[in-house]
Structures are given as C-alpha cells and as structure tokens.
C-alpha cells in the first residue's frame, strides 16, 4: 500500500450532555488498513465519540476530517456517503424485517423500468445478493428471508457486522461487536475485522474484552472520563498494563 494521508482525523473533539462532559478535547488519527482499538471504562465516552464519527451526534467543538477534508455531518446518511459504516452498540437492525431487507435498508435495489421509478423494490435480488455479499465478507447466516427477530443474538450481530463491512468504503466503526457472543463467534468477528483490514479499510474497534483488543488491533487509544489518556501501538501494551491505564490505578507511562 502506498503512503497516504489519514482517512480519518478527529481534532480536539468535545461533547457534553447537559452538565455531563462526555468528551474533552479528544484527537485521533486513523489510516487505511489500520485497526484501532478504542477502550475505556463504562461511561468513558467511547459510544459518544463513535456517534460523532458516524453523524448521529454533532460535537460541541472540534473538527472531523475525512480524506483530508473537514466534514460536518448533518445526518448519519452524510457519513455513510463519505464511506463510513458503523455498528452501533444499540442494535442497528430492524428486527421485524428480513435479513436481506436489513442489509439493503436505505439502499434498496429497485426493479427495472417504470415500476422501479415508482419505487417498487426487487426483493428477490436483495435476498440473493445479501447472502452472497455476507459470504464475501466472511459472514454466514441462515436463509435471508428470515426476519432478524428469528435469529439468535450472535447471528444478529453477525448480520449487523456483515452489513457494516460490506458497505464500508473507508472506515468501519464497531461498537462492542463481540458483545453477547460466544468464544467461537467472537473469533469469527475478529476474523471479519482482519479481512476488512486486508481490504484496506480502517477499522475502529470498541470492546471491553481486552485480550480481543490486543489480539486484533494495531494501535490502542484509551479513554478515561472523556479524555485520551494513552494512544500507542498495540505492541506496547499487555492486558495488565492496558487494564491499569483504563482504570487509572497506575499512571500511564510517559504522562
């Protein structure tokens, strides 16, 4: 891969909910083909940061720069169009819709001709392609006509991750993707993350499962009470030192 500028830059991001300062001057630089771990205790501000990256929320101050260009998302749709796909901690699937309908939600395939222009959908193509594309990113699910509510928690998570990966152009943000997953399914998620990296995507991986973070990431950013307390290559952490940095029981080296 040729030397390129960062695909995503956050610069001095601050955000608050009323009197709660959720993020305080957070900066982060992410490159293509890089997997970044974002860790921190409950309430550290990880999900808030992710919602700012993906356009669900706007920061109080600070800049979001994608591919060298400063962006102001008006909606999650803007971020999607800029190639940023997100798996949210709060489920981002519609449980009563089929797997195929969920994969193509907001990007429906229309029928040809006049019917298509009137908004009629090509449901069959969507169901078929959904399975194919999910397989391509390494996710296997049962028949795509099933509704998401008929899947197990792990299968739902797989569908959600698959959707994020297959639509992503630049950046995939995964907020606790291995939540509720068994050991084998978690390994599959890590495998999907590695494949995304091979495709040259930048992955931001939020998790409380520190061995997973150390296993799959290139760099780890630690948040505590809305601030970045450490940002270093994964090789410089062990599970123990990472834990200590998160909880703040030991001063972060170099600070």
């Amino acid at each position: 891969m040729t030397e390129q500028g960062p695909v995503l830059e956050l610069d001095g991001i601050s955000a608050s909910y009323g009197s709660v300062q959720a993020l305080d001057d957070v900066s982060l630089v992410a490159h293509a083909g890089e997997v970044i771990g974002l860790v921190g205790d409950n309430g550290a501000g990880k999900s808030t940061l992710i919602k700012i990256i993906s356009g669900v929320q706007s920061p109080d101050s600070g800049r979001v720069v994608v591919d060298g260009e400063e962006r102001h998302w008006r909606s999650p749709h803007d971020a999607m169009q800029a190639g940023i796909e997100t798996l949210y901690q709060d489920s981002s699937l519609a449980p009563h819709l089929s797997i195929g309908s969920n994969i193509f939600l907001g990007r429906e395939i229309r029928r040809g001709g006049l019917l298509g222009r009137l908004g009629f959908l090509d449901q069959r193509s969507m169901e078929r392609k959904a399975l194919e594309e999910l397989e391509n990113v390494g996710v296997t699910v049962p028949l795509s006509r099933r509704t998401v509510s008929q899947l197990s928690g792990g299968q739902r998570q797989a569908v959600a991750i698959g959707r994020a990966v297959l639509w992503s152009q630049h950046v995939i943000v995964l907020d606790e993707p291995t939540n509720h997953l068994g050991a084998r399914q978690s390994q599959e998620v890590l495998h999907v993350i590695r494949r995304a990296r091979e495709r040259g995507l930048c992955v931001i991986f939020v998790s409380h499962t520190l061995p997973h973070v150390i296993e799959v990431t290139d760099r780890i950013v630690v948040l505590r009470l809305g601030r970045v307390v450490r940002d270093a290559p994964t090789s410089q952490y062990t599970v123990e030192s990472l834990l200590a940095t998160i909880t703040g029981l030991v001063a972060a080296p170099g600070s």
């Binding site: 489920s91 969920n102 939600l105 049962p142 008929q150």
Partner: protein
C-alpha cells in the same frame, strides 16, 4: 461482486417444510383464519335470511366497507410506523362539512354538477391533508406522542365541525345521491374509486421503498435513522396521507348523504383501529399485512350489517365487535413466532 474464487461456498440451509407442517402453518396463518371467519359469517347470515345474498345487499355491504376501509388503511400505515391516529374520525366530519360548504357555494353560482363534485373532492382531501399536517407538526416538531397529538386534533376537529355547521347538515345535493346509486354490478362508482385507492396503497406498503421504510421505522426507528432514512419526514408524510384518506372518506359520506353532516365519521377511528387489530397489525409497530386489515374491515362490516339483517338490536353491535377483537387478539397471542409477519 466476483464469483470466480475457488473457495468452497457455504450453502445456506434451506428450510424444509414437509406438507403436514405446511398445512399446520396455513391453519396458524392469521390471514387464513380471518378468511374462514368471514366466509362463515356470510354463510351464517345468508342462512338466517336469504335476502342477504342479493345484489342490492352486497352493494350496501361494499358501500359500508368503503366508508371504513380508507380509515383502516390510514391506521395500518400509521400503526405499522409505530404511531396511532385518533383524529381520522373527526377529520371525516370536518372535511365533509367544509367540503359541503364549498360545494354549496359553487352550486349557488350555477357551476356544473361534475365540476362541483371534483372541487369538493379536492377540498375534502385538502382539509384532511391540513389536519394531517397539523398532526405531523405536533408529532415531529413539537415532539408530542402521537396518541396525545391526535387526541388534540380529534377534539378540535369534532368541535370545529359542529361550530362550522352550527350542528346541522350542510347543503343538499340530490344529484350526488342519484349519482351514488349508479355503477356496475355490486359496485357503485365511488366504491370503485375507494377500492382502487386501497389496492394502490396496499401495493405501496408491501412492494415499494416507501412501504419498506414504514416497517423499518416502526420496527426500530434508530436503525432506520442510521440507515440513512429521514425518519421525521417519513413519519410526517404518513400522518398527512392518513389525513387525506380521512378527507376522502368525508367526501364519500357526502356523496351518500347529499350533504355534509357534522356527525359523519365521529368515532369511526375506533372501528378503523378495530379492523387493523383484527387484521393482525401489531400496535407496537413494525408488523402487519394490508390483506389482514382488509379482511378485518370486511368482517366488521358483515357483522354490523348482518346483525341488522337478522333483526338483532343494533345496540348489540358494539358488544359483538368487542368479542371479535378479543378473539382476534387471543388468536394472535397463540400463534408461534408471530414476530415474523411482514416485509
């Protein structure tokens, strides 16, 4: 994406359904049960009074069905999107009264009959749409919950209809009445129009992107939003559509009556919601089928008209409707995996 890779593909497991299971699934199918109930009711009332199976009576049944179905279609859209619209009944009254006033004014200026009815239809739909816009603003801008917002317009609409009409029927249009008696076979012209609208909106709900977004929003509004759907705009549009449908129903009643009555449609929101519930639409949103609503409305119509036919006091009507709703809800709760009935 490329299909060329030599990697073995994992074939998805096809769900195999042996015929016995398929039969059981059909019986468990809400639509099927509703259809059987409808046929049973028709047979019952027909066996009690043979005049029930005449063209004239079927024409009446269809007219009564058409007075209800657009409101039920409106509720189907609104309820699947995760809301509710209590105002549709009042909107029938206010739009009918205002439309009648407009038509009366035109008639006094010797405008032709057809032109009067066309303008009246536009006025009724417009008033209905205006109420819908008001609902949409209260819900998507003032952030009132749909129940409260449409309770406001329910009261205001019913009150305005009374004030505007001074409590009496507005206008007198014998030409409309005689026109409404014409048509083909068991369908009057205005019934055909209502049925056509119903078919179009059924197709839109189940086969277009607009319909898909309606289910998605009712199922998980956050998911719909982060998938790039403009949830507020969609929800607003659904209430406007509901208002327009109520306005058209106002015109429908005007044609039948030859006048705009301030009592037309009052309370009909409950019948519409009943039809929707009987049809298996989930009140929490995200689930429903338009054919269910249509069957629900047919059942309600047949029961209401049939009871009159076999000389049972109309006062019993409400009790029977209540029993049917209870039965439908119990049936739904017995059905396994009832989450999965949608797009």
């Amino acid at each position: 994406m490329s299909d060329a890779g030599g990697m073995p593909r994992v074939r998805p497991r096809e769900d195999r359904v042996p015929w016995a299971r398929r039969v059981r699934a059909t019986i468990a199918n809400q639509q099927f049960v509703l259809f059987v109930v409808l046929v049973a009711l028709l047979v019952f009332f027909g066996s009690q009074n043979s005049r029930f199976f005449t063209t004239a009576e079927f024409t009446n049944l269809i007219i009564d069905f058409c007075g209800l179905i657009l409101l039920a279609v409106a509720e189907t859209y609104v309820i699947i999107s995760g809301g509710i619209d209590l105002s549709v009944g009042s909107t029938v009254a206010i739009s009918g009264v205002v439309g009648a006033f407009a038509m009366e004014t035109l008639a006094s200026h010797h405008v032709g009959e057809v032109a009067i009815l066309l303008v009246g239809t536009v006025v009724c739909a417009g008033i209905g749409g205006a109420v819908g816009v008001l609902n949409a603003v209260l819900i998507t801008k003032a952030n009132l919950v749909p129940f409260v917002a449409t309770l406001v317009t329910l009261s205001a609409g019913a009150g305005m209809a009374l004030v505007f009409s001074r409590g009496a029927d507005v206008g007198s249009n014998p030409a409309a009445i005689s026109w409404s008696a014409t048509g083909a076979w068991i369908f009057t012209w205005e019934s055909m129009i209502v049925i056509a609208i119903t078919i179009v909106l059924s197709l839109v709900l189940h086969f277009t992107a607009y319909g898909r977004y309606n289910f998605a929003i009712g199922s998980n509004a956050f998911a719909a939003r982060v998938a790039g759907i403009d949830v507020r705009r969609h929800v607003a549009s659904v209430y406007v559509v509901a208002g327009v449908l109520a306005g058209l129903t106002g015109m429908f009643f005007y044609i039948r009556l030859g006048a705009g009555a301030p009592t037309s449609g009052i309370g009909d929101e409950l019948n519409a919601i009943a039809a929707v519930v009987i049809g298996g639409v989930s009140l929490v949103g995200g689930v429903g089928v338009m054919t269910g609503t249509i069957l629900g409305a047919m059942i309600l119509t047949v029961v209401t008209d049939g009871l009159i036919f076999i000389n049972i006091q109309p006062t019993w009507n409400q009790v029977v409707v209540g029993a049917i709703i209870a039965l439908a809800v119990v049936l739904q709760s017995l059905r396994p995996g009832r989450q999965g009935a949608s797009a």
